[in-house]
């Protein structure tokens, strides 16, 4: 165990998202990492394996032949009682999909650093949220970061959330490919001892390697028990809501940066709002500032946690809005809007007083979104609120 700083932790340093996440992994010092490289997540485990070669971590690093195998190895190690991490992106996450359900179903508290990237075809390496949205019902907690700092902080918190006795579910810590993963930012790193103290020791309920108390993991679960075990996962997701907030608040008390389900930006008196995830939230803040100067009461609701979905908190956060736009960096191709739009509409449907809601699908395959694009989104909202325009899913930034 590394209990004191072997690398000198500086307060403010320049790090890409991938570097910051690899740094967090070094500080967490997991028992096992099993991973397979894929752009733009490759750097995370590449840097981490450098730490391993330099003797800075005690991790058992398993090189595997595919992401399917990476997650399978993670599950085996987790069932044995190890603290386990991996990283992937896009096609890699898709190849893991089958095994992701097994990780959550067996209640393995694995932490996955996910770098959001579009799915083929056509082949594309740049950012959108299609990869994680495709596995949104896999029983994994999903946390999204706006910048490298949040990706770093989220990864540290994810260990606590996943391993909580009430939760015991795997966590996906998502950051936008290239925009965050390769963008160099000023990041405030914690000291190794602070991270070690915050994550604490792993306390697995069972271990597959404990010969004194033999257990079976992954037994056949037919019509008589499968339903009960799936019901347990739903309950764990419900409990995770409290744990995510508790851990986020505690992180704030310890290190000065608090986290919850949302970050509201100028939402207190906002009439027109945008809800978005990931790096776009940062762009939207610029648009909000510009619109405020022009007299619009604009606000931004940055969603940090997509799974579990914070229904009650969303209702409260959007109460004062006349109209809002939901920004989706993925399409369901259902012709019924993006995944976030569908969640938001479902959450607010039963409310008597709810804002009019519009949906924009944007940024697929890394298509840039600018503050100017977002200003246009806000400027449509008064028309929507006045009933001059009908809400329908639309595409933002595509050449018509």
């Amino acid at each position: 165990m590394i209990t004191q700083d072997k690398l000198k932790a500086e307060d403010f340093v320049a790090r890409t998202g991938n570097e910051a996440v690899a740094e967090a992994m070094r500080q967490i010092n997991p028992d096992v990492v099993a991973a397979y490289p894929i752009t733009p997540a490759t750097e995370i485990v590449q840097i981490f394996s450098g730490f391993l070669a330099d003797g800075l971590v005690d991790t058992e690093f398993i090189t595997v032949e595919s992401e399917h195998s990476a997650m399978s190895a993670c599950i085996g190690a987790s069932a044995a009682g190890a603290r386990v991490m991996t990283a992937t992106s896009s096609q890699g996450l898709s190849l893991m999909a089958e095994v992701l359900y097994i990780a959550s179903g067996l209640r393995c508290p694995i932490v996955l650093a996910e770098v959001n990237r579009a799915l083929s075809a056509p082949i594309n390496i740049h950012c959108d949220h299609s990869d994680t949205m495709a596995v949104r019902d896999s029983g994994w907690i999903q946390i999204y970061a706006e910048n490298a700092q949040e990706a770093y902080d989220n990864l540290i918190q994810a260990v606590r959330i996943a391993e909580d006795q009430e939760v015991k579910l795997p966590v996906m810590v998502c950051m936008d490919g290239f925009i965050i993963s390769h963008g160099l930012e000023v990041v405030r790193l914690l000291k190794d001892v602070q991270v070690q103290r915050f994550v604490g020791p792993n306390k697995p309920a069972y271990s597959l390697l404990d010969v004194e108390y033999p257990i079976t993991v992954g037994a056949l679960d037919f019509t008589d028990f499968y339903f009960e075990h799936r019901r347990q996962i739903a309950e764990a997701m419900e409990k995770a809501k409290t744990v995510i907030c508790k851990v986020g608040e505690e992180f704030g008390v310890e290190f000065g940066r608090s986290y919850g389900f949302f970050e509201g930006y100028k939402m207190e008196d906002a009439e027109y709002g945008v809800i978005a995830m990931g790096s776009t939230a940062g762009t939207a803040k610029v648009a909000v500032d510009e619109l405020r100067k022009k007299g619009m009461r604009a606000g931004l609701l940055k969603l940090r946690v997509f799974r579990p979905f914070p229904v009650t908190e969303l209702i409260n956060a959007t109460k004062g809005l006349k109209a809002m736009a939901v920004l989706d960096r993925a399409d369901t191709l259902s012709t019924n809007g993006g995944p976030l739009f569908q969640e938001v509409c479902t959450a607010l449907y039963a409310e008597d007083h709810r804002p009019k809601i519009n949906n924009y699908i944007y940024g697929l395959g890394g298509r840039d979104i600018t503050p100017f694009d977002l200003e246009k989104v806000y400027q449509e909202l008064p028309k929507l609120a006045a009933g001059e325009e009908k809400a329908k899913p639309r595409y933002l930034g595509v050449r018509e």
Partner: protein, 104 residues
Amino acid sequence: MKAPNWKEIPPGGVIAKGGTAFQYATGDWRNSRPIHDLELCINCLRCWVYCPDASIKVKDGKVVGIDYDHCKGCGICSKECPTNPKAIKMFNETDFGESHPSEF
């Protein structure tokens, strides 16, 4: 006995003790039933060696029968049996109607 609800069972389907396979009769998968003939058996124990499910019951070095609660009916015992005629022959389960081996 009332089956436990979702709050009463270990999370993730973990079976938190060993040796529980004994409690689960898997023999009802079988559609082909081995019948052992004590008269023809020379107790060479090849069936016992080759059975993939430990379903050949042996006592004091002699084959005494078949564990129908766990035998899946693969027929390897009969295939490996060296006597002529064979001491273990396979029969279609439907030849026995609905009756369980323990009843006939």
